[in-house]
Amino acid sequence: MAKQLWKGNEALAEAAVRAGLVAYFGYPITPQTELLEYLSGRMVRLGRAFLQAESELAAINMVYGAACTGVRTMTSSSSPGISLMQEGLSYMAASEVPVVLVDIMRGGPGLGNIQPSQADYFQVTKTSGHGDFRPLVLAPATVQEAVDLVYEAFDLAEQYRTIVIVVADGNIGQMMEPAEMPPMREINGDRPHWALVGADGRDHRIITSLELGAERLEALNLRLQRKIARVKREQVRWKEDKTDDAEILVVAFGTMGRISTTAAEMAWEKGIRAGVFRPISLFPFPAARLEELSQRVKRILVVEMNAGQMLEDVKLAVGKDYPVEFYGRMGGIVPLPDDVLEAVERVHTEL
């Protein structure tokens, strides 16, 4: 298929449809709403399930219900809505049903505002609900990457029977860019071996997150941890730019990764050797490669649209003695390449 101009949210929605989305449930919230609006027409015309729920709490539990029957299902929201979905995420993690969630982050805390933000890095990677679990978290930097990641997210969710969160900020949700859509997948009626479809000619199946015995619950947790370890081994993703002979390494994800790449180009023109390391999988965090690169460069500069959240993972990766600088803006302010360049220059003068 040729490239077309797509709005991020609508591109994400169409990619999900093409991945074989059977049932979508969601609730309007800026800057994600176009995703829901797009699917309200598209899904119904295809004879698939679409429902605008009464809340994010209901939406995530509708998704949970559909997921228990083994169909491809998803929801999407933005920061305050994700807070409400945390209950459902925890239950789904425990009962190991696959699900895809798109989070188009906005400024917080509280109602915050509707501008782009990356302030929910902690929420999606570390605190997405009670109990010991970690979703697989993927962060695109372009509309095309968003399309490709959400398309693949359904396979990953099924492969690991896990939650996959595609997290972007309002920029990616709202902007228009050329993107090529993947092919339309057939929805095959086959359901996985664990799905609830009715106990016809077999023992009844149960999907629950309740394990009353301490030993059994620990065993479940150990199984979840083994799965997380597998995800950590197999799903680490990142992108590097000009890292070969860089002296300063800018580490940034999503929109900030992209802006930092422009800033790095500007830096090179000024004779500053700046490379960019952009984690695509926020969980699992590409710590090993970052550690490797840190040995080659002199300084790391983390750039985020928050107060320094991924910064903690970077510091964990490179160790407490490594010089890590930070530049971040909050409240929905998106730094321009010039702002990042300034931060790079500041770090450079200290070298």
């Binding site: 509708m62 479809v197 009715g198």
Partner: protein, 255 residues
């Protein structure tokens, strides 16, 4: 000696497993489980039914029903049922929920499921108390009723009035069949049985939301013996929670 003719008058419904339940002696959950199972058997739908257990005493209902089952977060069973039904319109989906689950934490989910006319069946166990957590006040606790969180009796000036969920949901256009029955004696249990059967028929006919509220006992947390609690239900709950058909759309009458 003449031939002995055996006539089977009572057996375990196919829709129940042979597990022993964890319910307290005298609890009416066992009765309602059996009534639901009998309805599934009679309609021949066990093999294409999916149940959803609540958080509450019946959280483990999935061990007792020989039916595919999921366990919901507290109050969210109607949302889960919605997701299941929308993705699988040819399956029969039912929730089984207590009054804390349905009428407190899950009020939003049940109201909207009913309002949408979600084609699911809800079995609503109203025992006027939070059983599982040890007998706290429920939204359905009667005025003056003592619980561990209303030790002087439910004071309306503090806790407000009990919710009548069947009446409330009856006002919604999506509700096709909303009835309240009681499990305090055999006559009433038979009526409840018939209502549960009808509720599933409503779903099979695609008529919309159906709910059977069952006035139930909780001997342990009411601190009464089983017989006393049946009498207490009859004398106190039935007058406050009128039995009968609160909402029956015309199409149901033709079933």
């Amino acid at each position: 000696m003449g031939k002995v003719v055996e006539k089977l008058v009572y057996e375990r419904p196919k829709s129940l497993t042979d597990a022993h339940t964890h319910y307290c002696p005298g609890c009416t959950h066992g009765v309602s489980h059996r009534l639901v199972a009998e309805a599934l058997d009679e309609l021949g739908i066990r093999e294409r039914t999916i149940g959803i257990a609540p958080v509450g005493c019946s959280v483990l209902a999935y061990y007792y029903f020989n039916v595919d089952f999921a366990e919901a977060a507290h109050g969210r069973a109607p949302a889960m049922a919605t997701g299941m039904k929308r993705a699988n319109p040819d399956r029969v989906i039912f929730t089984y929920q207590g009054d804390g689950d349905l009428a407190a934490i899950g009020t939003g989910e049940i109201v909207h499921a009913a309002g949408r006319g979600e084609n699911i069946t809800v079995i609503f166990i109203n025992n006027a108390i939070y059983g599982m957590t040890g007998g706290q006040m429920a939204p359905t606790t009667l005025e003056g009723q003592k619980t561990t969180s209303s030790p002087m009796g439910r004071d309306i000036s503090i806790a407000g009035h009990p919710l009548k969920m069947s009446e409330l949901l009856s006002t919604l256009d999506g509700a096709a069949y909303v009835v309240r029955h009681s499990l305090h004696d055999v006559k009433h249990i038979r009526r409840a049985r018939k209502a549960i059967l009808t509720a599933f028929k409503v779903q099979l006919a695609g008529l919309g939301f159906s709910m059977v509220e069952l006035l139930s006992t909780c001997c342990t947390n009411w601190k009464m013996d089983p017989v006393e609690s049946l009498d207490w239900l009859r004398d106190n709950m039935v007058p406050f929670y009128p039995l009968g058909e609160h909402k029956v759309i015309d199409a149901v009458k033709d079933l």
